[in-house]
């Protein structure tokens, strides 16, 4: 298979072209990534843009309001609420900013690494030649639609001059912010956790997996979606029980 790739190797498409292709012509992008599985560009783009947005968000947010808004989503009695408020208020806004910046970036990285590890494991079982690095590149590039969420966050922050902006309201492309609301707070949390770019990224991963392993759509969907269904299933179970 590697020989076949070598035989049909194309000219480098360029990082910007690959990024555009991921969004509009994913097949071309996956062919390019199969030959040149670059990682630094999408990694830097996603991590740095996330850190920048979080930095801006925690710089403008009304800290007292943020604490109350965060605690409002948690089921606590009055005494526990007051204790939690005091504990959160004892931390400075800068501490929160640093925590938000780094936890956001590290969180994304951890998810990508786990996803890459999972894909490399399943592909190895199938006897594919792709290594962890190849899958990590694929996951990073298929995560690029997340940049639309980043753009949306920037727009949302710019529209909030008083700083009373909840972290869940940041991304205008989450299902919750696109109108899917529920009286159940856990379900709302699920809707807050799923966004259109995320679904787009999953779809791209399925396509990439299928193209790289030359397998059926059903198999690609089963492999890629399995962890999502597992996590969402557990989440929904606890939300609805």
């Amino acid at each position: 298979m590697t020989d076949a790739i070598e035989a049909t190797k194309t000219e480098p498409a360029g990082l910007i072209n690959t990024a555009t292709n991921i969004l509009l012509s994913p097949g071309e992008a996956f062919t390019e990534l199969q030959q040149r599985p670059s990682k630094l560009f999408p990694l830097a783009l996603i991590v740095l843009s996330t850190m920048a947005v979080m930095f801006w968000y925690f710089s403008i947010v009304d800290f007292d309001w943020y604490i109350d808004d965060t605690l409002a989503a948690v089921n606590l009695d009055d005494e526990q609420l007051e204790t939690a408020r005091e504990q959160m208020a004892s931390m400075s806004q800068t501490t929160f900013k640093m925590f938000g910046i780094f936890s956001g970036a590290i969180g994304i990285l951890v998810v990508y690494v786990l996803q890459s590890g999972y894909l490399s494991l399943t592909s190895a079982i199938s006897g594919s030649g792709q290594k962890f690095g190849d899958w990590f590149s694929l996951v990073l590039w298929t995560g690029l639609p997340y940049m639309l969420s980043v753009v949306g966050m920037v727009s949302t922050i710019a529209l909030s001059p008083n700083g009373q902006l909840g972290s869940y309201d940041l991304d205008p492309l989450t299902l919750a912010n696109l109108g899917m609301q529920s009286g159940n707070s856990s379900l709302t949390a699920i809707f807050n956790g799923i966004s259109l770019p995320m679904l787009w990224g999953i779809a791209l991963t399925i396509m990439g997996y299928r193209q790289w392993l030359d397998c059926s759509l059903l198999k690609a969907m089963t492999v890629v979606l399995a962890p999502y269904f597992l996590i969402l299933g557990i989440w929904a179970y606890f939300a609805l029980t």
């Binding site: 969004l23 109350d68 753009v151 949306g152 727009s155 949302t156 492309l173």
Partner: protein, 393 residues
């Protein structure tokens, strides 16, 4: 890069950027759900809070003036006693022995004086005879002088014996006094509030706080009062006769009524406090169903002015802003301006726990945002509000 793709990407990004704008334009921002109310007249009783404890005005702590084992105890804690009632007996065997010794000493001295007097009488007669004989030159000077000297010495001995008798009587009085101190009697009418000694224990004459030094405490239950510490910043507002509401910690839902009776002249630093405070004594005029026990912790609310009916707002509706660098502090309220919160500066007056007088004249029809606190804390000028009219209690 293909221009068509670039345009598509830009269109996509543009749509996402526009999404929050479109959302806000079409649906607007979320209105904050708040409670509003119009202004009303309200009785405000400005007060000062102070904490302290219950104590007895008439209270004595008995201690022994003699050292000895307690042989009998005639009372129990909680007993009512009268002034002069025998409460406790310290073993008096030693004191009785001492008394007998002193009485014997007195008797011995009395006998000694009698003997001295007899001796002087005898010597006086001898001296008179000797003088007659000496005048007639029938006895020599030496013999006469010896007799005179014996008479003088006998008189001195009598004086000495008389003084010894005085000393013995004083000693007897002292022993009697000590003996009387073995019987502890109540100096006042009251109740035994604390009994710190038992039969068989040794009562110790001491002012230090060691076991045995304190026998019991007697207090007049009718003289119970509240002693609180008022911060020096508030003391200027306290006056004798002011109405007070006292809440004992043990009876949080049963306030008692009282009147300020005493304000200390001198400030002191109370234990556990940093600033100076004045002791204020409050007479309890109506204890209600509260069982008063001295030492109980309590909180007193001293009403510093007569109840007045004024235009007032709930304290939580007032926003306090302070600029320390400019030495400026201001109060604001939020009023409902057709669904928009408008921050309005106001002047305030007296306050109680829940309401504060509004000095600024505001039209009766204007709705003021009064809650909930969760929303009020973060309400901003120009925020959209969804109002619910509430009746203030």
């Amino acid at each position: 890069m293909n221009a068509k793709k670039l345009v598509l990407v830009l269109l996509l990004a543009g749509t996402v950027i526009a999404l929050p704008y479109i959302n806000r334009s079409v649906f607007g921002t979320d209105a904050k759900v708040v409670n509003v109310s119009t202004l009303s007249q309200r009785v405000i009783s400005p007060s000062i809070l102070a904490s302290g404890f219950l104590a007895h005005e008439e209270e004595v702590m008995l201690s022994s003036e003699v050292i000895g084992k307690v042989s009998e105890l005639f009372v129990e804690e909680g007993d009512t006693v009268t002034a002069g009632q025998l409460l406790l007996q310290v073993d008096d065997k030693n004191f009785i022995a001492g008394l007998e010794q002193s009485e014997a000493a007195e008797r011995i001295n009395t006998i000694d004086i009698e003997r001295q007097e007899v001796r002087i009488e005898n010597l006086s007669r001898q001296f008179e005879r000797s003088r007659s004989l000496h005048e007639r030159k029938m006895i020599g000077d030496n013999e006469f002088d010896n007799l005179k000297n014996q008479l003088d010495l006998a008189r001195i001995d009598l004086k000495s014996s008389t003084e010894r008798l005085t000393q013995a009587r004083a000693q007897l009085d002292q022993v009697n006094d000590n003996l009387s101190k073995t019987k502890i009697v109540s100096p006042i009418e009251g109740v035994i509030t604390s009994l710190d000694i038992k039969v068989g224990e040794t009562a110790i004459a001491s002012s230090t706080n060691i076991p045995g030094s304190s026998l019991m405490t007697i207090a007049n239950p009718a003289s119970i009062y509240t002693e609180v510490l008022v911060d020096e910043a508030d003391v200027a507002n306290i006056q004798i006769g002011q109405r007070t509401e006292i809440v004992a910690i043990a009876y949080p839902d049963q306030p008692m009524q009282g009147v300020v009776r005493y304000i200390a002249n001198t400030a002191k630093i109370a234990p556990g406090r940093q600033g100076l405070s004045f002791t204020v004594k409050i007479e309890i005029t109506d204890a209600g169903d509260v069982t008063l026990r001295p030492g109980m912790s309590c909180r007193a609310e001293i009403f510093t002015r007569q109840d007045q009916e004024v235009v007032a707002v709930p304290i939580q509706a007032l926003i306090f802003e302070e600029d320390r660098s400019a030495l400026r502090s201001e109060y604001f309220i939020f009023v409902n301006d057709g669904g928009i919160a408008r921050k309005t500066k106001v002047e305030v007056g007296i306050s109680d726990d829940e309401y504060q007088e509004l000095m600024t004249t505001i039209d009766d029809s204007i709705e003021i945002v009064v809650g909930p606190n969760q929303e009020l804390r973060h309400l901003l000028e120009g925020d959209r509000i969804d109002t619910t009219i509430v009746e203030l209690q």
